[in-house]
Structures are given as structure tokens and as C-alpha cells.
Amino acid sequence: MDIFGVPIQALMGQLMLGIVNGSFYAVLSLGLAIIFGVLKIVNFAHGAFFMLGAFTAFLLGQHLGANYWVALVAAPIAVALFGMLFEWLFLRRLYGLDPIYGLLLTFSLVLVLEGGFRVAFGSSGQPYATPEALRGTINLGFMVLPIYRGFVILAAVLTCLVTWYVIERTSVGARLRAATERAELTQAFGINVPLLVTLTYGVGVGLAAFAGVLAAPIFHVNPSMGSSLVIIIFAVVVIGGLGSIMGAIVTGLGLGVVEGFTRVFYSEFSSTIVFLVMVLVLLIRPAGLFGREES
């Protein structure tokens, strides 16, 4: 049976791949959403941190001989530390100002990071080998799925759920939500909100870096691998509803699928579909799909 001349089988395959991409979107937009929720800043450097994660993994392998699994843990932590330093040195000077300044600062950071890596490693990028354990493909009947892609889905969804759990269900998360809701009063309860903010930024960019490491074996590790990502990711967050963790995750996965199908039926439009969706959503449901309507 066909849909617009595309066999249902193929569609199943595309659905699968859509979910894979969606998982990347989910992890990335999750990080962006957390940062925006607490810092009220659009972290324009999110794509750059994604790239940073991939490169860190690559470098760890090159110079320290660290294998994929080590990198998967070490790289995000390293990047998170870097991000926290950045927040501590520069970003926090802009709190309470028009968010546009934060946007501009993080944008400058993008230039520095991407430019720097291009100078250091050239523009055509580096290969990163898939770990032995995850080489090869499995036949799902309707498609052959590279095992690694399957792993990406698992890792990403797991990370998202853990993060969601930590934020929505643990005392640390409670503090975070409290700080988001009323920073002042929360301080009055003896909670070190500034530190919390720094950590939040760390976690946010750490997630981006994690996505980067996941991406390294699939996509080529090159300095501009994250450059066009950030506006799409932020679109995802806005569609999901600013401040909604689940919104970011679900919308991420969803849009991955939507994009996947667009690639079959109207491929040229696949990089633009997200924005069409966003316009429609924002005009029909101002606060985004999962967002609370605030006045």
C-alpha cells in the first residue's frame, strides 16, 4: 500500500529516522529550555557547545586515547565546566538587562568558538569512528537500522527522561523550579540561587555537548556542525512552550519526525518546515503546545 506513491514500508523507515533526529533535537532543546527557563537568556551558543562536545570527544580520542564511552561521559562534563566558567565570568553581568544582550554575548561566543576551531582544525572536519560494540546494522523488517542509531534513540530518550525526572521529581529540581518561579524568596529560604543558576547553565550546555558526542560518529565532526542548529532548536523550544521541560522533549521528537516525512514528500522544504509549524503554533496557541499561558 502506498501513500502519495511512497510505500508504507519506506514511511516506517523514515519515521524511525525521524525519531533518531528527533532525539538529537530533544536533548538539545531540553538544554536550551532549561537555560532559558532559569536565566531567561536565549543561549545562542548552544549549537557551538554541541560542536564543542563532538570535538572534545574527538580530541580526547586523539591525544588521550580515550574511547567513545569515556568521551561520552568526560566530554559533556568538560564542556559544562567551560560553560559555567563563561557564565561566571561574563554572562552573569547581563542578568536583569534586556535578554537581547545575553543573546548577543552568546552569539559572539559562537564566532569565537567556531572561528577558533576552524583555525585549529580546518574546515573540512574530522572522522570519528563508531565504537566497535555498536557497529553494523539490524534488520527491522521494514528497514535496516544501523545499531548505533538505535543506541542514539535509547541514550537520548533516557537522558531526557532522567533530566526530566531530576527537575520535576527531586529536591534539587524543586529548588531549580522554585528559583525559576521566585528567585528572591527562594534566596530567603537559604538557597544559593546564583550558584544554582551557574549549575543550570552547566547542565544545559552539558546536554548540548552530550548530543554532540552522540552525533560525532554519525555526522562529520567539523567546526560548523552546530551553526545552523540553534535557531531550529530554539524554534522547537518555543513551539513546545517556553519553560516546559516535557514540551521541549516531546516537541523535539515530534519535529524530528515531521522533518523526516518532509524529506520524503517535499525534501527542499525540510529545513524550513519547522518555521512554518512555529508560525502556525504561535498564532493559534500563543504559549506553545505545552506552555502555560502567562499574562
Binding site: Q14, S123, S124, G125, T137, H220, N222
Partner: protein, 382 residues
Amino acid sequence: SNGFSDDVVRIGVLTDMSGIYSDLSGEAAVEAVRMAVEDFGGEVHGVPIEVIYGDHRNRADTGASRAREWYDNDGVDMINDLSNSGVALAVAAVADERQRHAISNSASNIGLTNDYCSPYVTHYTYDAYSLAQGTGKTIVEDGGDTWFFLTVDFAFGIGLEQQVSDVVREAGGHVMGAARHPLDTTDFSSYALQAQASGAEIIGIASTGADAINAINALSEFGVSPSQRPAALLLWFDDIVSLGLDTAQGLLINNAFYWDADEGSREFSERFYERTGRMPNMAHAGNYSSTMHYLNAVEAAGTDDPDAVSEKMRELEINDFFATGGYIRPNGRMVHDQYLWEVKAPDESEYDYDFLRLVATISGEDAFQPLEDSTCHLLNGG
């Protein structure tokens, strides 16, 4: 001194120094031109030769204004490299208007030798047409006659796809279809699947740079190759370096130059490697060869007067490590042999950068657009 516009022959290398193509041309391209000038002796008829460079940021307007400034204010006599077709076309327009020389080595758009042709513009290393011929024709003749294309949704890709398709059909092959992807697509899995579904023997990759690399990655990841064979219509030597042989092995690529082809190329390449720490690709070699040719023409003409030089350039034959018996047609097309290479498997590679095996040589006459098909206005004139 007498015939020289100002007392220096100035060559400007207009390239992508900081952007996504900075590996394909960039600083290495500048170095190649410098080498040519040094090898030439640093001066012509006692007039010093100077090399300057600029960054076009892959933006036509930036390139055009830089070119204008060079021609108008800085007495630049010839602009070389011109990676990125948009920039090349814009600069060609300026060159024609300002009546100064421009040579493109890393752009593919055949408009340069058709609607946009000019007595002052030379298209040197390769063009979309030669890619189509080199890859399409040869492969079909080898028996790979069903094709599917992964095409970047841009004039470059679409043009390339169409040309190859024509060639394939002419040679009796079939085109099963094409998937058009936006520029800077990172994930090609979806297209890999479509390619797989098509069942075509040859998967033509009509894109370049990061897109091509990611496409090839996806194809091998999904086990498309080797059962189906990817053919990269424009893949640079640097791309193979960064893909690694594991992924790239078996690829068919059309390149006008390979460092390990013969004595001459090896000699140049090793010197080049000394200076830049990278092996030259066809554009770098073209940068060198074309600069050399331009200077020879200047010497022969005894002046840097653009018209005189233009005549000499079209008159003199090109014989060096890059081309044998190469010559420039009235429409500015430099005609020389093209080669189809296959990427070796890791175990076949015996030493560093031992990447390619020659599959076929396409004579210049076959490789490039026949003169009678060119829409260049200079032709119907005389």
C-alpha cells in the same frame, strides 16, 4: 619600465580564508600562487611580481567589491582562485567591466565560459561539464547504467545532476530518480534510505564539501555501498583525507589532478607539503599552473597590458606537471585531460596519502563542453 601599468605585476588571490571552503583553497591557495611566482623568479622583465590575498567570505558582494577595489585602487593585474561559483561569476563580471584578468580554479559554474565569458576571464582547472563527462560517461561505459542522485538543492547541484543525467542517458543509461536536499544538511539517513529503495547501481552525489562528506558517511553507514556504488561528482582530495579510507573506499571521483600521478606532480606536491603541511588538491595545482601560465604570457607579451596578455595566454600551450598540451579556448576554457579515480581500500594504501587509483583518463576534447555549444558572445563574433 615601459609596458607595465605600474612598476609591479600584482596578483590577488581572492579566496575563502575563514569559511567552509577554507580547506579547499584558503591559505594554501595563496601559498600555491606564491610558489609559482618564486619559481618564475619573482620578477618579469625586471618588474617585481607581488602577491596579495583577500577573503570573500563566500559572499558574492564581498568578493565583487574586493575585486573592484583591487583593480581600481591597488593595481591588481590578475585575480586567482575564486572558490565559490557565486563569487566567481560576480568577479568575472567585474573583470570584464574593468578589463583585467581573472582566473577561476575552484569554481565549477560553466557560465564562466558561456553567458559570462570574457577575454579576461579564464576557467582553468575543471568545470561542472567536465565533472559530468568524466564521471557520468566513464561510469556508464563501465557498465554502471542505473543512477540515483543525491542533489544539493542549489543551482550547482541541480545543474550538475542535469548534466550527468544527460550524459548518462546519451550513453544509454537510466536515471531512476533524485533526492534534493537543502544546503548544510547534516543528516542524510533519510536520503540514504531513498537511494537504497531506488535500487540504482550508481548513486551520484551532486554536492560538495560537508554535504558530500555527510552523504557518503550516511551511505556507508546504511550499508548502501558497496552493493550500490556512490560516485561523488565533486569531491576534493581534502574531503577524502577527512572522510578516511574506511568510509571513502571504492568511491569514484573525478579530479583533474592527483599528487601521486607522476614525477612532476610528486615533485610539486612534496614542496607544497613542505610549505603548507597539506597535500595539494586540483585547485591548488591549478592555482600554481595558471599563475605560471599567466606570467609566461606576460613575459611573452613584454607587457602586463590585459589585452596583449589575454592573446598570449590563448596562444601559448600549457605543459607542466598539471597539464600536457593544455590550451585556452577563445571563451576562456582551459582544455586539458581529466581523470577518474577510485579511492583505495585501507589495506591497499601503502604510504601516507596513497589514496587514489586511476580508473580512466578523459581527453580534454571529450571532457569539456564543445566550443560550438558554448553561448559565449566572443565566439559568434569571430
